[in-house]
């Protein structure tokens, strides 16, 4: 637009920008990305649900029969794997919080000039492949690997102790892999807290513990919510740690879904399992969000 532009409005110009912008602009901006998500996120979810109520095989094709057989199989045969997912994922989330909170707190409030360096160290694991890190844990936790040899030399563990293949190894792997996902949101929330609020609590005769419990923790809730969600959800669906560090006894629901889809070609049951997992997570997340009173965080 190089021609003589219309005389510009003087004074408060707040709404004028928006007035000049065509009403269609936001929709044009949204359209390509939203379309992508509709076609490659929403539509597949619908397709997965339809697959879960179909019968048939990969070779002969699937026919929509609205059969609930896959759900019956999923809910009756795979209890132990669902249980493993819940226990391993839950324990790992709790551990990442117990380890992550003091770390995030220290970096946010005591980091000083080391703040950026410490944060960099926290995200450093992201610079290597998740698979390779998990393989490194296997090297570390092998029966004659460095960790067990060391603990045996200290007589903390008996000579025949073994970690690889046990739930402990799987939980350790999950905790390791998702720890930065807990630390970062906690740090962001804690970093935002104005220290003068805590000082004010102290001035008003709150004990240090009281100020921590009644000022710091409530203000950190958005971070706690984000951190636990970012850890728990991928942990529930993880199967790589269970394959690399576990044994057939430590299978999680992800292992079943993966093998049914990619090895056995049993799509209906695999789709039903995925769908149940997704539904359970959505229900759990909404209950959790309501319990913490942080619904606005999702926006």
């Amino acid at each position: 637009m190089t021609g003589p532009s219309p005389p510009l409005r003087r004074g408060r110009t707040g709404p004028s920008v928006r007035q000049r912008v065509g009403k269609a602009t936001p929709y044009l901006l949204l359209a390509p990305g939203i379309l992508w998500l509709m076609v490659f996120f929403i539509l597949p979810s619908v397709q997965m649900f339809l697959t879960s109520v179909s019968t048939g095989s990969l070779d002969n094709g699937f026919k929509l029969t609205w059969s609930g057989a896959a759900y019956v199989t999923s809910l009756t045969k795979f209890g132990p794997q669902f249980e493993n997912s819940l226990i391993y994922g839950g324990t790992a989330t709790l551990l990442t919080f117990v380890i992550g909170f003091p770390v995030a707190y220290t970096i946010a409030f005591r980091g000083g000039r080391w703040k950026n360096f410490l944060l960099f160290m926290v995200i450093a694991p992201f610079f290597t492949s998740f698979l390779i890190r998990t393989i490194s844990w296997k090297v570390l936790l092998l029966d004659d690997g460095p960790v067990l040899s060391f603990l045996r030399a200290l007589h903390v563990l008996p000579a025949d102790a073994s970690v690889i293949g046990t739930p402990i190894a799987v939980i350790a792997g999950i905790t390791y892999n998702f720890l930065p996902f807990m630390i970062l949101p906690l740090y962001v929330a804690l970093e935002k807290i104005d220290p003068s609020l805590i000082e004010a609590a102290n001035d008003l005769y709150a004990s240090r513990w009281g100020a921590f419990r009644r000022v710091t923790i409530p203000l950190a809730l958005p971070g706690i919510f984000a951190g636990t969600i970012l850890t728990f959800i991928p942990a529930l669906g993880d199967y790589v740690n269970a394959i690399l560090l576990g044994s057939p006894q430590t299978q999680m629901i992800g292992n079943v879904i993966q093998s049914r889809f990619l090895l056995l070609g049993d799509y209906p049951v695999a789709a039903a399992l995925s769908f149940i997992l997704m539904a359970a997570i959505l229900v759990a997340v909404s209950i959790y969000a309501r319990a913490l009173g942080t619904e606005q965080l999702t926006g």
Binding site: I34, L37, T106, R133, T134, S136, F261
Partner: protein, 299 residues
């Protein structure tokens, strides 16, 4: 990791019984919290150190699990394993293309959500949040059902999408999936940047006669560029490291993580450690250099 946390957790408890309260907090602040943070960061870095050390291992047999002595053989022949060069090329190409695609789509959505008022904002926010709250295994498996279905008679996309595009699985389906899961992360990152943006700068530009496009390229874009860049880097790193979703939609095409996973069943070549170390050191170098440059620019 419980073993790691115990000695530190003991400190405040023991101190509590002997010292007056103020000293406890001093101990926690000055010794326990920093000490714990360093231990936790050590925990995060251990597998990376192992990866780098074992890239110099003169291992015997097929598996690079046990230390046998120092050699540079791995670093002299970093890509010397069947399938590895192709896998790296595919990974890089997918990462670049999906970063460009998702950054454009996601930035548009981020702009629309922060700059305009329109109906359905809540639904759009929800649609952006959902992929981040969905376990990768669910997204991967639902995409698989859609892609396979498009190849079957009577499938949902059968007839709409030309045959051979979505099924058999391969490069295109991996790219589609990576753009899909990256969009949400780009939107969130860009939104965070635009939120702290002084809109009066745009209004000033328009008041001075700039049209909308000029305002966007001369004022808006330079201001949000750091956010767009951060989003792009995040998308790149998510894409290049993705294993779970890719494993469902890759068919016979190998990305680096898929290649690693397929190889480690029968062997653990030192090249895995070498490439992993290269990526890690390269990323550290890039981040380090950009930090130094920024520090200089700020001076």
């Amino acid at each position: 990791m419980t073993a790691l946390s115990q000695p530190v957790a003991d400190v405040p408890v023991k101190a509590a019984s002997r010292r007056p309260p103020r000293r406890i907090f001093h101990t926690i602040d000055h010794w326990a919290l920093p000490g714990f943070t360093l231990l936790a960061i050590g925990y995060l870095l251990i597998p990376i150190v192992v990866m780098i050390i074992f890239s110099f291992n003169d291992y015997q047999g097929k598996f690079n699990f046990v230390w046998h002595g120092f050699t540079l053989q791995g670093w002299l022949h970093p890509f010397d394993w069947p399938g590895l060069p192709d896998a790296i090329k595919t990974s890089l190409l997918i990462a670049v293309l999906s970063t460009v695609g998702s950054t454009i789509l996601g930035t548009f959505i981020g702009l629309a959500l922060t700059r305009y008022n329109f109906r359905g904002r809540g639904a759009i926010n929800g649609l952006i949040f959902l992929p981040m709250a969905t376990p990768e295994i669910v997204m991967g498996s639902s995409l698989l059902t859609l892609f396979v279905n498009s190849g079957l008679q009577g499938g949902m996309l059968n007839g709409i999408v030309p045959k051979g595009v979505l099924f058999p699985l391969g490069f295109t389906t991996i790219l589609i999936a990576h753009i899909m899961f990256n969009i949400s992360y780009v939107v969130v990152t860009v939104k965070a940047r635009i939120a702290g943006f002084d809109r009066r700068l745009e209004e000033a530009a328009m008041d001075l006669g700039a049209d909308e496009l000029t305002t966007f390229w001369k004022v808006t874009f330079p201001l949000i560029f750091p956010g767009v860049l951060a989003a792009g880097l995040l998308a790149f790193s998510l894409s290049i490291d993705d294993f779970i979703i890719t494993s469902f939609v890759s068919g016979t095409t190998n990305t680096f993580p898929i290649w690693v996973y397929s190889v480690i069943k029968n062997a653990l070549p030192v090249q895995i450690n070498v490439v992993g170390s290269m990526v890690f050191l390269g990323a550290v170098l890039i981040v380090g250099l950009s930090n130094i440059r920024q520090a200089r620019a700020n001076r």
